[in-house]
């Protein structure tokens, strides 16, 4: 649960930024986003959802509505311009830690690390930065958290 300005508990919120061009993700994806917010006890602001119509996930799980990007937690920017916000580290840790524990999460890419579970129920593997492609993946997720579901 989250708290309002007066310290009263309330359900945690998942909201879309007005900059997100297509919020039409699958119902399972929105459920995962809400569960992530509830498990981490934070409000989430999402900046990107679906990027193509249809159910083909080739290229990105955004293309089939099975991914979302988080740009702010409890109103605090995760980062800006490929740089993590130092004031957001503990919030990012809570969210990426909560995502790590969720069975339905496939990709959990953010400033504090890159994890991927090949299928539901399998433990997520940490992706290192050993190749140029992986370093690029890390660099490209310092200012937001990318979450996709199985």
């Amino acid at each position: 649960m989250c708290e309002d300005e007066n310290g009263n508990t309330r359900p945690c919120r998942v909201e879309w930024s007005d900059e997100a061009s297509n919020t039409n993700v699958t119902a399972e994806t929105m459920e995962a986003a809400q569960q992530l917010a509830d498990n981490a006890d934070v409000d989430l602001l999402l900046s990107s959802g679906r990027r193509a119509e249809g159910s083909n996930c080739n290229g990105s799980r955004h293309n089939c509505g099975k991914a979302f990007d988080i740009k702010a937690i409890n109103g605090v920017d995760i980062g800006d311009g490929q740089e993590m916000n130092p004031d957001a580290i503990s919030l990012i840790s809570r969210v990426q830690g909560a995502a790590f524990e969720m069975n339905q999460v496939r990709e959990n890419y953010g400033p504090l690390g890159l994890w991927k579970a090949e299928s539901a129920g399998l433990a997520p593997n940490r992706i290192g930065y050993s190749t140029r492609s992986r370093r690029s993946l890390g660099l490209g997720h310092l200012d937001h958290i990318h979450i996709s579901i199985q």
């Binding site: 990105s60 955004h62 990007d69 109103g75 995760i78 311009g81 492609s133 690029s136 993946l137 200012d143």
Partner: protein, 170 residues
């Protein structure tokens, strides 16, 4: 022989830097000691001018706008990440906007305190974000924007560059 090179090199460098000496880039240095104050006051240095690569006579705002970006796109998630800055010459005044990519490219936000010195092409501006203000100080050219960027109050200054792109990356 080696000793002669070390003696000659500073002398040659000094000669090349003398006011009035022709330079490879076609710019002639002016000996300011011989220029009267009125001439300095009326020089272009204090009057905003557009960059040479801008078509200021065009009716199209696009040709009066230069866009710089460090946005990258992940080949795995397709996510965009980075910043994009656009500078528009509008009736003798510089205007700037910033777009942040956190997954996808966001909406343009106006810059604050944009200062462009058309004599040295130094530039500074600020961008308010949710709880902080980012600050940039550096240089502008037709090819790139580079300088020091301080994203958050608690973050370190970092030297960064943005390449010129033809138009806003969508």
């Amino acid at each position: 022989m080696r000793l002669r090179k070390w003696i000659l090199l500073p002398v040659l460098l000094l000669a090349a830097c003398q006011p009035g000496a022709p330079r490879d880039d076609g710019v002639e240095l002016v000996d300011t000691a011989n220029v009267d104050e009125a001439e300095i006051m009326s020089s272009d240095a204090v009057v905003p001018v557009p960059l040479a690569c801008m078509d200021v006579d065009s009716d199209s705002p696009e040709t009066r706008t230069l866009t710089y970006s460090n946005v990258i796109t992940s080949d795995i998630t397709g996510d965009m990440s980075g910043l994009e800055f656009a500078f528009r010459w509008n009736g003798g005044v510089w205007e700037g906007t910033s777009r942040k990519a956190a997954g996808e490219l966001g909406l343009p936000r106006p810059m604050e305190a944009l200062l462009v010195d058309s004599a040295s092409w130094s530039i500074s501006f600020m961008i308010p974000n949710s709880r902080d203000t980012s600050r940039f100080q550096g240089s502008l050219s037709c090819d790139s924007l580079w300088g020091t960027y301080k994203t958050y109050r608690t973050s370190r200054d970092r030297i960064t560059s943005f390449r010129r792109v033809d138009k806003a990356e969508n």
